[in-house]
């Protein structure tokens, strides 16, 4: 059961081979046993989870269950969930219990009947690529406990990779679903901006943030995504589109698929082993009937600098609400209002968050706004146009998800720029608002490698199909880390 796919779990629940309470208990026990070493979860509430499981069992018994009712999942601690502590990986919210549900949580709990096993660790306010910025300590990569799981959705990635949960939610602002998926041998999808509601998802960079599924396979991602999407009147950037079943086209043959290979993704700066695995995956696709075309994303070298203007700018403003006035952390001693603000924010935020608030405040300041913020917005448009051009000659773009496999804890922590460069292939996708995936495609020195798939706007179904066919032909995604019993 621990290794079962969502479809298998769904069938087992429907056939009453196992109840949701039993299944949830299985995973809760596993979390209890393994989480102390992995640190993937920051909050587990057995009683709450089992209550949801019992309600799911009742739905199954009454015949009102959906396809995923009763299946336990892990929730990234960026999603507000009523009655659950919701920390966003920060001391600032270490004691914040949300009085309301994020739209995604509401859909998963109320509509789909999924059971939440707990809230997963993450980089503080989703700012990081290694999970080392979390107030609750780093997450260990199940493939090598001396290495990072990636970030910011590192807790979700480690939880699913170690089978502490069958699947999990993540969020992706610059690669925070895809990069940890790559580093932990998972399949992860960042949907088109606007497909998954951001209401109740604690904002890092509003114009880039997007929630999505992290799971063992494309099929699992498709099923989980089905429960997460939908127009939301509470999110003005949510897109009003017809509902689709992302699992519908999974088996479509790939004959005639045109794969775009941007030369910028196959140049220097990428680990040779990673590159070899990615090229082998592309060769596999050719066997499946796809053809490759060369494309170019000439402005992609500007994506990291543009991102590190836009994302901190939005973050500096989004994080202003954490002021110690209404909820969350407040410094114990202060002389006056300004002192309260300063001490609260100095003590409540970690170093990386403060660095980004400073960068963001700087680039929005009078006299710098045009040179940084506006310039970055112009670059953002150029980057989006590059993709529009590229998609004229191909259906899906492929390349590495991350330039390296999982690095060691502490290896890049002292050098923010090195850390930022680990998202060099994923960031442009967020700037353009496109859907992107990471799919397991091999190992280097025992560490997983991710293949990135980038689709055109609203091509989630196609990406999942492209990933699924590959997973039918390969077994990389079925490999599990050893030694976690």
């Amino acid at each position: 059961m621990i290794d079962a796919s969502l479809k298998q779990l769904s069938q087992a629940l429907a056939a009453r081979q196992i109840s949701s309470v039993e299944l949830s208990t299985l995973f809760l026990d596993r979390i209890e046993r393994l989480n102390p070493t992995l640190n993937a979860f920051v909050t587990v509430d057995r009683e709450k989870s089992l209550k949801m499981a019992a309600a799911a069992d009742a739905r199954i018994a009454s015949g009102t269950a959906g396809p995923l009712t009763g299946i336990p999942v892990a929730q990234k601690d960026i999603f507000c969930a009523e009655g659950w502590r919701t920390t966003c990986g920060s001391k600032m919210l270490a004691n914040f219990v949300s009085p309301y549900d994020a739209t995604v949580i509401e859909k998963m709990h109320r509509d789909a009947g999924l059971v939440s096993l707990g809230k997963t660790n993450m980089d503080e306010f989703a700012m990081g690529s290694s999970n080392e910025t979390s107030f609750f300590g780093p997450v260990r990569n199940p493939w090598d406990s001396e290495r990072v799981p990636g970030g910011s959705s590192g807790g979700s990635a480690a939880a699913v990779a170690a089978r502490l949960a069958p699947a999990a939610t993540g969020t992706d602002t610059g690669g925070s679903i895809r990069q940890p998926a790559a580093l932990c041998n998972l399949t992860g999808l960042k949907p088109t901006y606007g497909v998954v509601s951001r209401y109740g998802m604690i904002a890092f960079a509003s114009s880039l943030d997007q929630g999505g599924p992290m799971a063992a396979s494309a099929e699992d991602c498709a099923l989980l995504l089905n429960t997460m999407v939908g127009f939301d009147t509470r999110d003005s950037t949510s897109l009003d589109r017809p509902v689709e079943d992302y699992a519908r086209d999974l088996d479509k043959p790939l004959a005639g698929l045109r794969i775009g290979l941007p030369k910028e993704f196959f140049g220097e700066g990428c680990d040779a082993g990673v590159m070899a695995a990615v090229r082998a995956a592309i060769a596999e696709y050719e066997k499946l009937g796809a053809t490759c075309v060369d494309v170019s994303l000439p402005n992609s070298h500007l994506s990291v600098p543009a991102y590190y203007v836009i994302a901190p700018a939005e973050a500096s403003s989004n994080l202003s609400r954490f002021d110690g006035v209404r909820y969350g952390y407040r410094a114990a001693d202060y002389a006056n209002l300004d002192d309260m603000y300063m001490k609260t924010r100095a003590q409540g935020f970690g170093a990386e968050v403060k660095r980004r608030i400073l960068i963001g405040t700087y680039v929005l300041s009078h006299g710098y706004y045009d040179a940084y913020y506006l310039q970055a917005q112009r670059i953002r448009r150029l980057i989006a146009n590059d993709f529009v051009e590229a998609f004229k000659s191909c259906d899906v773009i492929m390349g590495p998800t991350s330039p390296s496999t999982a690095f060691k804890l502490g290896e890049k922590a002292a050098d923010p720029v090195q850390m930022y460069l680990s998202d060099i292939y994923t960031i442009a996708v967020n700037l353009a608002g496109l859907p992107g995936m990471s799919v397991p495609c091999g190992f280097v020195g025992g560490l997983p490698v991710g293949l990135q798939l980038i689709g055109n706007y609203f091509a989630e179904g196609q990406l999942l199909n492209v990933a699924h066919r590959y997973q039918q032909a390969t077994d990389w995604h079925t490999r599990r880390p050893a030694g976690l019993v």
Binding site: A205, L319, R321, F322, L364, Y373
Partner: protein
């Protein structure tokens, strides 16, 4: 000595009359217990997002159409970033580079009577934004309370050009704007509750100088009287400073109504860098031509249009027409009166509403909407003057009786109190004969050429008639008899 010219521009915050807040579904009703009308969005809980209230946008469109401005096809909400305990998000959602309303003008009537003149004040822009909450410093010893009921209340910030040249012009503009936002139903105009508040940018310059002087901004003036007093004080203060050899420093000041003085709140050096940038949580506001047309169709007749119609259709003077369109209540009262009395009596209707009724209301400090004399009653009274049933003098008595509720209609009062004018020439002749017989001395004086003696005789006849005799008939008969 230098002649100084005053330059004033006004920024007004008009609270829009929507049932719910501009970015959340919480109620905007005034006076609820603290923090009972603040939802998750207003509290800026982690993860919440703003959703624009369509009604607030419609208010902005109405306003733009009413002042002949351009309603922007695309406008953008921006974040104004600063920390304050009653600003839950740490930023205010407002509009900066692309406001929803651009340009336009308001024609105002300055002064009264012969000295009255008209002036057109141009508007720079009007934009939508949210209000902050309220900090309560009084009730909590050593601490401040925060009430977020007001947080997120929709505001239209209306910015004028620096077109006003006196505090009178500033007040006339503020009054006209106040009347207009109420007229088109976008703001209740309640100044005590803060629904309509003005900031005045004031500077002075030597007459004839082209460049503006350095301005100081007087914040949060919530009555027309304070607006005038604050500007007058500030102008004198600035002139004194300059004449004593100081330079005016750009600053924000507060007006203290108790002392009647303005005092500095912060200098330009202390001004925040608000780090405006487009709010990524909200899409650009796109207003279609269809939407504008629909709102246009729902607009009432505007003061300017009504004013022109009063002149062209009812033959009123410009001054009368302007006065009667000063606000929607006066206009409505006047129109109801004319509707009953008939358009031929528009001029006396105008006089009664503007002069007699206005004076009586003013004496009791009442608004026209609370007038004890209804439009129908006034119209009935004016008709009885026109058909000679009563004289103007008697009419004032009847009006007073109606005001005091001594009858349901003018006719009833006239009837009950026997105020009907005596027009029977036989009866008047009898009175005239009696007066002439009893006042031989006056008759002799008149015949000796003293015109004044005639007036005394008229007075005697009216007195004998208890004021009810038709004055024209009395005059004619007296002249006839004295000539005979």
């Amino acid at each position: 000595m230098t002649q100084w010219e005053v330059v004033i521009g006004i920024e007004t915050h008009a609270q829009l009359a929507t049932a719910t807040k501009i970015f959340s579904g919480a109620s905007t009703a005034f006076g609820a217990a603290p923090n009972t009308q603040a939802c998750a969005v207003d509290l800026a809980l982690p993860g919440v997002l703003p959703v624009l209230n369509k009604r607030a946008v419609e208010c902005a469109i109405r306003f733009g159409l009413a002042i002949g401005a351009e309603v922007a096809q695309k406008s953008v909400f921006a974040r104004k970033n600063y920390f304050y305990p009653d600003l839950p998000k740490g930023y205010q959602i407002s509009q900066m580079d692309l406001p929803v309303v651009v340009g336009g003008a308001i024609t105002v009537q300055v002064g009264q009577g012969d000295k009255a003149y008209e002036k057109s004040v141009r508007l720079t822009r009007a934009h939508l934004e949210e209000d902050a909450g309220k900090s309560l410093h009084e009730d909590f010893h050593g601490k401040s309370g925060i009430d977020l009921n007001r947080a997120g209340t929709p505001l239209l910030e209306i910015v004028s050009e620096p077109d006003m040249r006196s505090s009178d012009e500033a007040v006339a503009y503020a009054r006209a704007l106040h009347a207009l936002v109420r007229w088109i139903g976008i703001c209740d105009g309640n100044m005590q509750e803060g629904s309509f508040r003005c900031d005045a940018n004031v500077s002075v310059r030597p007459k004839g100088q082209a460049e503006f002087g350095t301005r100081r901004e007087i914040k949060n003036l919530n009555s027309f009287r304070f607006l005038k007093e604050a500007i007058d004080y500030e102008v004198q203060w600035q002139i004194n400073e300059i004449e004593e050899g100081w330079r005016i420093q750009q600053a924000t000041v507060l007006f203290d109504p108790d002392s009647g003085e303005t005092r500095m709140m912060r200098s330009k050096e202390d001004a925040h860098d608000y780090r405006y940038f487009p709010d990524p949580d909200l899409l650009p506001l796109v207003i279609s031509g269809d939407w504008i047309a629909r709102v246009q169709g729902e607009l009432p007749e505007l003061p300017g249009q009504k004013r022109q119609r009063f002149v062209s259709e009812l033959g009123l003077s410009d001054y009368d027409a302007t006065t009667l369109t000063a606000n929607s209540e006066i206009a409505a009262f006047f129109e109801s009166t004319v509707a009953i009395a008939g358009p031929a009596l528009a001029k006396p209707c105008a006089n009664w509403v503007m002069v007699d009724l206005a004076a009586r209301l003013n004496k009791e400090g009442r608004e026209i909407a609370e007038s004890p004399v209804s439009a129908a009653q006034l119209a009935g009274l004016i008709q009885r003057i026109a058909d000679n049933t009563i004289s103007n003098n008697i009419a004032k008595k009847v009006f007073e009786a109606l005001w005091n509720g001594e009858g349901a209609t003018a006719d009833e009062v006239i009837d009950r109190q026997g105020l009907k004018q005596i027009t029977d020439s036989g009866a008047i002749e009898k009175l005239v004969d009696e007066v002439l017989a009893a006042n031989a001395a006056n008759v002799a004086e008149f015949k000796a050429g003293k015109e004044k003696a005639f007036n005394a005789l008229v007075g005697q006849v009216m007195k004998a008639a208890k004021g009810k005799a038709n004055p024209q008939q009395v005059n004619d008969l007296l002249k006839q008899k004295l000539a005979g």
